[in-house]
């Protein structure tokens, strides 16, 4: 019974379009997810500088540094979002959440790159990142490590590590601050004729 079940299970996984690739490392970077409960970065009051007095933010920063990644806080991400280089494609935002969450809303102009299903979008995102001076990768925020995985994926694909920044507070912190959000496809909120 157990053998028949196992044979069926692996065959079904192989045949399923959503099946997992057994040989692939879905969590590059080595560090395992924290056993602590999910914590989201607490948003400081409006105007206050982001500091790492918040233990959750400090934990995220440490996690990123352990993986050799550079963290960026919300103020830094917001500054890059408003940077003129963003319009020129020299600053690129990459959303590491899955397609459903991306379509519900993302940072305007952000590229979609789900690290678990990168095949479809990787070449497109890589092309954009190769020209960029700064690439900001984010996911939901807090204990979500999908941004880490995506940043490592980009690093392994040849994007210089010094150009990669991981926004640890993620989309949750972004929306908590009522910053701009774009629904549906990338640049769908832009007026016709606007480029980038």
């Amino acid at each position: 019974m157990a053998l028949a079940g196992a044979a069926f299970a692996f065959a079904a996984n192989e045949l399923s379009p959503r099946g997992l690739a057994l040989g692939r490392n879905y969590f590059p970077g080595g560090a395992r997810q924290s056993v602590s409960p999910p914590k989201l970065t607490q948003t400081p009051p409006a105007g206050a500088p982001t500091t790492n007095a918040d233990p959750a933010a400090a934990e995220i920063e440490q996690r990123l540094k352990d993986k050799g990644l550079q963290p960026i806080d919300r103020l830094g991400a917001e500054r890059l979002f408003r940077d003129p280089r963003f319009e020129q494609g020299l600053v690129v935002f990459v959303d590491a959440r899955d397609a459903d969450h991306y379509r519900e809303g993302h940072i305007p102009g952000a590229y979609e790159l789900d690290p678990y299903h990168p095949e479809k979008e990787l070449s497109n995102v890589l092309a954009a990142c190769q020209f960029a001076a700064q690439v900001v990768v984010y996911c939901t925020g807090g204990d979500c490590e999908d941004a880490d995985s995506t940043a490592i994926l980009l690093r392994d694909a040849g994007i210089p590590n010094q150009n990669l920044l991981v926004f640890g507070g993620g989309f949750t912190e972004w929306t908590d601050r009522h910053l701009p959000v774009e629904p549906s496809e990338r640049n769908s909120a832009r007026a016709p004729g606007q480029s980038k």
Partner: protein, 186 residues
């Protein structure tokens, strides 16, 4: 019919019948439960992979992927087998064998979360990767205990009525017993 009272063994004894019917209901419930929870995980294997990873049970990508890839389909397989009633005791034994260690692992994880959050044990709520979303740990443990009891009950041989195998065997036995004896066939 010769007017004699039927033998006591031929009289359907209603508590026994009720017990059999309850066992069939238990089989269908257990089978349906595992088909449902298995399909919930199959629908989003990456989410299940992340949940399995939280338990920190294995440290190689292949083993982690193999568990996350196979377990949901394995549950679906056992659930369908139970619903159809093909190998009831085998499926029940398999499910009990996986439920017991899983319950221990979920319990352990809840203790870790309890220590981290400083909550009372029953106030710990998390997605254990069981296919039922976020649940309070005490409810989950009770549910698993109930599922294990149902599985053990089926293991005792109950609940085989209205099962594919039972029907096939009964029909085969009936057709054999009603075969006309052909004189000189030997």
């Amino acid at each position: 019919m010769n007017g004699n009272a039927p033998a006591p063994s031929a009289v359907p004894f209603w508590p026994d019948k009720a017990m059999d019917l309850s066992a069939v209901a238990a089989r269908w419930y257990l089978g349906g439960f595992f088909v449902y929870t298995g399909l919930e995980k199959v629908a989003d294997p990456v989410a299940f992979l992340k949940l399995v990873r939280q338990y920190d049970l294995v440290h190689t990508a292949f083993l982690l992927n193999a568990i996350a890839a196979a377990l949901p389909w394995f549950e679906v397989f056992c659930g369908v087998i139970l619903l159809a009633g093909i190998a009831v005791r085998g499926a029940a034994l398999t499910l009990v064998s996986i439920l017991i260690p899983f319950t221990g692992v979920v319990w352990h994880r809840a203790l870790v979360l309890q220590a981290a959050k400083g909550l009372s044990f029953c106030a710990v709520k998390f997605d254990c990767g069981c296919g039922t979303g976020e649940v309070y740990i005490c409810e989950k443990l009770l549910e698993n205990f109930g599922l294990i009891l149902l599985g053990v009950w089926l293991l005792a041989g109950r609940g085989r009525q209205w099962s594919a195998r039972y029907c096939v065997l009964t029909r085969a036995a009936l057709s054999q017993s009603s075969q006309p004896v052909v004189p000189g066939a030997d």
